[in-house]
């Protein structure tokens, strides 16, 4: 999937997201709707055309290094379509499944696990699965992890993926990730209790760590 067309060759000459937005709109790409948009928090461009969808974001050396560590350990990620030669202040492009949605555009109301569909507990457990795999295989965790750094791709075995730009750093205290997530859940969705969800996250993180 992705911009593996002449569009990519033209896009790599654009180093400014605003210019890139103009180019994409002119070329018939549509900006993805609110709940699906993976770049609302950092100004990244999330555009789609027919079955193609791409995220254009400000890349950096850490992002590219993090991406390579996921590739080398075969951890699920959004594939990079284009990586800039100059990691400073350049734009990376990732291919995104059309059904991917941002985790910060969901509410998390469930107070218990659900059967038959993807509820809040299932989403938190899936986050734990991804983070445990990253921690076990690379010794790193995403820094300052928030819900807007995570995406859900429904209907796939590995439903949670990190949203670029990636920022994996050597892990000294993985437990802080749970605390950060809890704070973010309370911020994003203050009307519901998230204690049980975070406990499920922590418990399953341990389990996945053993089995990863």
């Amino acid at each position: 999937m992705g911009l593996e067309t002449s569009t990519t060759k033209e896009l790599i000459n654009i180093n400014d997201l605003a210019q890139m937005r103009m180019y994409l709109e002119k070329a018939g790409w549509e900006e993805v709707n609110f709940g699906f948009h993976l770049g609302r928090h950092n100004g990244a461009l999330d555009f789609q055309r027919l079955k193609e969808r791409n995220l254009c974001f400000q890349s950096n050396a850490t992002d590219q290094h993090s991406y390579q560590s996921l590739v080398s350990k075969q951890i699920v990620r959004f594939p990079t379509i284009y990586t800039p030669d100059d990691p400073k202040n350049s734009i990376g492009i990732s291919g995104i499944p059309p059904a991917a949605r941002a985790l910060d555009s969901l509410s998390y109301p469930d107070q218990q696990p659900r059967t038959g569909y993807l509820g809040s507990y299932e989403i938190l457990v899936s986050i734990a699965k991804l983070l445990a795999a990253i921690y076990k295989k690379t010794g790193t965790i995403p820094q300052d992890l928030k819900l807007n750094n995570l995406s859900l791709v429904a209907g796939t075995p590995d439903i949670i993926r990190l949203v670029p730009p990636l920022n994996l750093q050597p892990a000294t205290d993985w437990a802080s990730v749970a605390d950060q997530l809890y704070i973010d859940l309370m911020t994003q969705d203050p009307h519901h209790n998230h204690q049980g969800q975070i406990e499920a996250f922590k418990n399953h993180f341990h389990i996945f760590l053993k089995n990863a």
């Binding site: 609110f34 059967t115 209907g155």
Partner: protein, 325 residues
């Protein structure tokens, strides 16, 4: 596949006939509802699958017209794989699983399906018929494959869509404390809902359960209504009296939905006194709704004084039903 009259307003979803895939390992112990539906399908095995016409009361598998030459072979869950789809707080009595179908050319395909179970098969048939008519009248919505009747129960089988997001999964609470962009987003959603309801009503479709949870949005931002269990159909186009009835019925439910009066899908968008809530609802929803209706009526040449009067009466009746002074 049998030919059907063209539907100018519907874009056929290209996910519906996805890559050929055979399930090699079925879960021996699927979830109870899936197990029940699987057994129901087995009970009807060997009997010819019929195209759904009217309101059948006998047992059997009734395919919707656009699936008439397909056969549903098996329902279950794939072992080791969970076809999980995110839902809002309200599960719509639906669970997700896998169906194996045979296409007219004999090819086997699998689909992730939404399985909706009814204790009363007549309710299932009614929902499917209304859903089918909604599609016929030019709207995108769920597109059921078949309805299965077995031992008095009904099961609606619909391809699950992964490209949609039910509106009650969106963080509506951020309307109060989010940035201006977020607030604008949700106001825009209300406007979308108002236009969609106006369009539905202008073609004689009364959803009858127009809560926020019964709308979803695609990744391209297109809004669609679904869950036609309580739906009612009127002539297309309806007369002014029917239109007023639909307006009161659906907008009453929507008002309660956005003022947090439904616990199962709690969305307190407007959280003030009833009078203030009404003013906000009128500004952000009702005025858009009535404007859109007038536009539709003008297009078909029926915009007249009687129509305007019925809209105004509907507003008064709505306020009366909502106990707003």
């Amino acid at each position: 596949m049998p030919e059907h009259p063209p539907r100018p307003f519907i874009q056929f979803a290209d996910h519906e006939l996805s890559a050929v895939e055979k399930v090699h390992r079925w879960d021996k112990m699927p979830e109870p509802k899936v197990n029940q539906a699987a057994k129901a399908l087995q009970n009807q095995n060997g009997k010819p699958m019929r195209e759904l016409t009217g309101y059948p009361t006998e047992e059997g598998v009734f395919m919707l017209p656009e699936w008439a030459q397909h056969q549903i072979i098996k329902i279950g869950q794939r072992r080791g794989v969970r076809d999980l789809i995110p839902r809002g707080n309200s599960a719509h009595e639906v669970c997700f699983c896998t169906a194996e179908l045979r296409k007219p050319d004999g090819q086997l395909i699998t689909k992730t399906i939404a399985l909706k179970t009814f204790n009363d098969s007549t309710a299932a048939i009614k929902e499917v018929q209304i859903n089918h008519e909604v599609l016929n009248r030019g709207f995108n919505s769920t597109r059921p494959v078949c309805v299965l009747i077995d031992q008095g129960r009904g099961y609606i089988i619909t391809p699950a869509r992964k490209d949609i997001m039910p509106l009650d999964t969106e963080p509506w609470h951020q309307f109060s404390f989010g940035s201006g962009t977020v607030r604008d987003h949700f106001l825009g959603r209300l406007k979308q809902i108002s236009f969609l309801l106006a369009d539905l009503h202008s073609r004689g479709i009364n959803h009858s359960d127009a809560q926020i949870k019964n709308f979803w949005v695609t990744s391209k931002g297109h809004l669609e209504a679904f869950d036609w269990e309580a739906g009612r159909l009127y002539p297309n186009p309806p007369n002014n009296q029917d239109l007023a009835h639909m307006a009161v019925d659906d907008l009453r439910v929507l008002f309660k939905s956005v003022t947090g009066q439904y616990k199962e899908s709690y969305i307190p968008l407007f959280n003030d006194s009833s009078t203030v809530n009404w003013q906000l609802f009128k500004e952000y929803f009702y005025d858009h709704y009535s404007y859109r209706l007038m536009e539709q009526w003008q297009k078909i040449g029926l915009l007249n004084e009687d129509f305007i009067e019925s809209i105004l009466r509907a507003e008064e009746e709505l306020k009366y039903e909502l106990d707003i002074s």
